[in-house]
Symmetry: D2
């Protein structure tokens, strides 16, 4: 069965997902698109035989030929399209963030509550990365004992001019927050954010940052964000357990011996690092949704929890020494 | 455009390719199958909506609904189905070996000569492995200077009971032969095969073996086959150039610190090691063939050349000190 | 010229230094010993041709045949012997801690002030470890840009029964404190200590700990102590700079491929890890002191500063969120 | 007890050993020197309080104050000084080669036979390298099963102008020969030498070379010599056993992440790589000889055997396809 997908938002990420649905993964077809810039949507659709162009995202959701929706539009519009999809009983994959406020996230959760089932998946693609999955498997196997500390390093060679101080939390560290929750299987309870001497390439950014996050059971998550570190896009992670540690390995496929050193390449950007994770993420979503099952990937709850941690992180960044992370009670749907 | 594929041979490998065409890669559909065991073909087809079961491979080739053919049947039958496909003007992907004798390989080459175009691709999947491709890219970049030696290690934890002495050459080292030709971009010219003290787990196999192969320009290929080495399925490769070396890196995604050591896992079998290469191999073949282009993967010539090296390798194993590898003149189609 | 050394304290560490002076390093001879347990001193001296046994450390210092003194006695006695050596104008190597209170450290500093020269060296042996020295060399070379964060991991497989909660700071992390000061070339200014969920093997120890230390210029030192981690004695260190990072490498000399994994051994205890550093430490001290030069190794100031950081660390462990580290003005002798 | 040593030959290597005896290792004193260039010997002695300068090596050996002799003179003179030392009953450490012909080596063996004890040690310092020792320990532990193949890589960044084709065997690979015999605990029985396409930086050298050597039990030693490989001085070694492999690890102490790659430094020359091995080699020799024991390091037999392998290697290089290595019967003294 081919899953007929409607894509709302045909900018860079939307186009990449359309390419993936059309040329990479199996079992899906893009049948409808819409974009705030109608011309862009039409240009994209021109290469998609049989795809309709709608003038609004709401029309994409309502299109009876659309089985499932992918939302790649501007963050502030996510809530509307996701809730509409849920209310229409259509599975919806929403790129991160789920919504731009915790209240909006809670309204999506309420919509799913009304529907009585999970219909939403949020695009936290790291959970689909082969290396993170192998890390989780090793940790879950008990090979290092119960986790006590998780060191998570998030390094970018540089950031664009529009990158603001807050984005180190809400755009960068949010991935570390989500992956920590998933890897450790519990919620985050408090956060400290401490700025190091600033990197001269981004002085007003408060970069790098160290964050110490406590989970509900007391595991410490130790996040380093360094977003101007030039040498590469390098995602590090080490779980320190009671009897050992498990860490993400180097990824370079070739050991080069040259000019006095021996080493491997570091990825140059997030695309190179996580491209395969996006493929797996969409393939698994298509497989589950096509089979009529609820998605098992990152849920609305995960999107909400990440948002709350970001808010606490910003409060800590702006002066709280240790800021507690307070979540509403978790609906049974997500347990 | 969906490529309509007929699969001849629905045993283990055939079924795996069918799974791949149906659930993993994009742009193909299995429309016809056949197998020496008709019941097996029927069972496989039962899960493929709209797929026909033919009683012979020839019928699969002749089926007007079949755009392209995949041959996964028993080696001795390859020649017949491949030649039939070529004569029918249909692209054909043939699992290795291309054929079981050099004469049979040459007859396939003649068929392509008659067709005046490349229609055949042979299943040397290592060329599609991400790590080997990265290795070739580094070597081709000149980062280590002109290649002078290629160390290739082929290690299996164990081999099945039916594995014979010859298979170390024709089943195992044949991959090293093909990958050497591809990596270095030239033909192999002579081979020595020297047996080490035998592994006690396979005494009558003459295992491990060292092979020293000379290319036409004088590069040395140094192959180690160790097919009873227990610890894992480990494919090693290092190109020694004029100014440095480039080698396949370790693949384990998780660095585990436990019980006095720090390390990564080694793959346990060829499937784990090369599963992704098979996916890429088929996806690229589908993409090229669907677009009406001739395939650019391993050709009939590559299948033939590998066969000639295997014959020379066997002669060297059975007593020749240094056996020359003599190829016919290479038809222009393959240059 | 052979340096004639008197050793005060002939317990485990004292005996090890005597073995080193006698059989490993060049240019020194042990001529006098003393120990609180006279019988132990006599037993040790029996293997040292020509060595005298004194009844007190003071007599060792006063012995006219003694050129230089090594203090390996119980911590609370350090001040007395070190000050006596300084007052006698004799170079003195004192095992850590320099003294057990900051006041005592300051009295030693005052003694050196009276002497008008540096005569004291403290046994912070990590500064003599080949790997740490290579790390400092790389950092100082500018290869990673200005340091912004230093991750320091201190992992012990287990600790003895008498190990108390405080010792994670004053016995374990003190090495990280000293090495941070040395590596970064500046003082530490504030410290946070955060306990993780406790390791089940040492629940009342508050183990592991994370510490975040700020240097005067704002570099963050991120210390992890895990003293019950079973898998090995593992000292980690990574300096994150503006454009790259430099880290201590794995030390295992043999890559073992066995039973599904590939890896190297981790040291099993501090002795295995730092034995060579002790040799270099003493050899360099002997060379400098024999040549009539003041020692250039860790000074009284370094011993004092480490003590102050320990005190702040304990205050933070016992409830201060962020505790400032306040040093007296640094005498010119140490700049 | 201080061992009184006479050094014959005060060129580069002799001076380095004198420095080592005087400033690095424990328990020895240089009391006499001689050199073909008397002026050099006198200059060297000027820094050695109490050392006598003799006009000939024979006088050094005969000097009653000399307990033991170190021979660092020109290769062709080794036999004379070593035999004289043996006949005088004095332990003698001889830099490699033991002698320049197998006949000369045999005459030294005969001298030891007359003496009825081992007095000679040959300077194969690799046996004292910490990494090689760890490798041997792992192999001897059975961790990889019985050894079947030993891959030995010997890479130099460049060679001096006077380096000839033969030196790849007698100066370079001779170390691989010795270390193979020591590591595997058996003699080498036959050798093939195969030249690769020449490195453009040393075309007339036949560089690189591959050698396949068979031991008496059938283990294969696979030597690669690449003496113009620019990138560094890189000594590789991997023992392939029945159930795993053990290899020399990378040595760089610092992992540098910079400019798109992560890696460690490779040594730049043999001095950097083996400096510590020389220290250990001499210290152990001094300890054994001072204690009145016969040396347990590389013996005259080892020096002889290496010479025979070199001769066979040259014969193979100059055209023998497979050249047998034939040793005289091994005297009981060396078993």
């Amino acid at each position: 069965m081919t899953l007929k997908v409607g894509v709302i938002g045909t900018g860079m990420i939307g186009q990449d997902h359309i390419r993936r649905l059309t040329h990479v993964v199996s079992g899906a077809q893009v049948v409808a698109v819409a974009d705030a810039e109608q011309a862009v949507a039409e240009k994209v659709a021109a290469n998609l035989p049989g795809a309709r162009v709608h003038t609004t995202g709401a029309e994409v959701v309502a299109d009876p030929d659309v089985d499932a929706v992918i939302v790649c539009s501007w963050g502030p519009t996510h809530e509307e399209y996701v809730v509409a999809s849920v209310d229409a009983g259509k599975p919806v994959f929403c790129e991160k963030p789920l919504a731009t406020t915790t209240d909006a996230c809670l309204r999506i959760i309420e919509a799913e509550g009304r529907a009585g089932r999970r219909l939403v998946q949020v695009g936290f693609m790291r959970r689909y990365d082969a290396d993170y999955r192998a890390l989780k498997q090793v940790v879950d196997s008990g090979a290092v004992g119960a986790p006590l500390i998780f060191h998570s390093g998030h390094r970018n060679p540089s950031v664009p001019a529009h990158y603001t101080k807050d984005m180190a939390i809400v755009d960068t560290a949010v991935h570390d927050f989500d992956v920590s929750r998933w890897l450790l299987g519990e919620e985050l309870a408090a956060i400290r954010v401490i700025a190091a001497k600033p990197n001269s390439q981004g002085v007003d950014l408060q970069d790098p940052l160290l964050m110490i996050i406590e989970t509900t059971s007391g595991v410490l998550v130790n996040v380093e964000t360094s977003v101007n570190i030039r040498y590469g896009y390098d995602i590090r992670g080490e779980v320190v357990g009671e009897s050992g540690t498990a860490a993400l390995a180097e990824r370079g496929p070739v050991v080069l011996r040259s000019a006095g050193s021996v080493g491997v390449a570091v990825p140059q950007d997030w695309r190179e690092r996580f491209i395969a994770a996006y493929d797996v993420e969409l393939q698994e979503w298509i497989d589950e949704v096509s089979a009529g099952a609820d998605p098992t990937g990152p849920s609305s709850w995960d999107g909400y929890a990440a948002q709350v941690v970001c808010d606490a992180g910003l409060a800590a960044l702006y002066g709280g020494e240790r800021v507690e992370i307070r979540l509403v009670d978790k609906p049974a749907l997500y347990t």
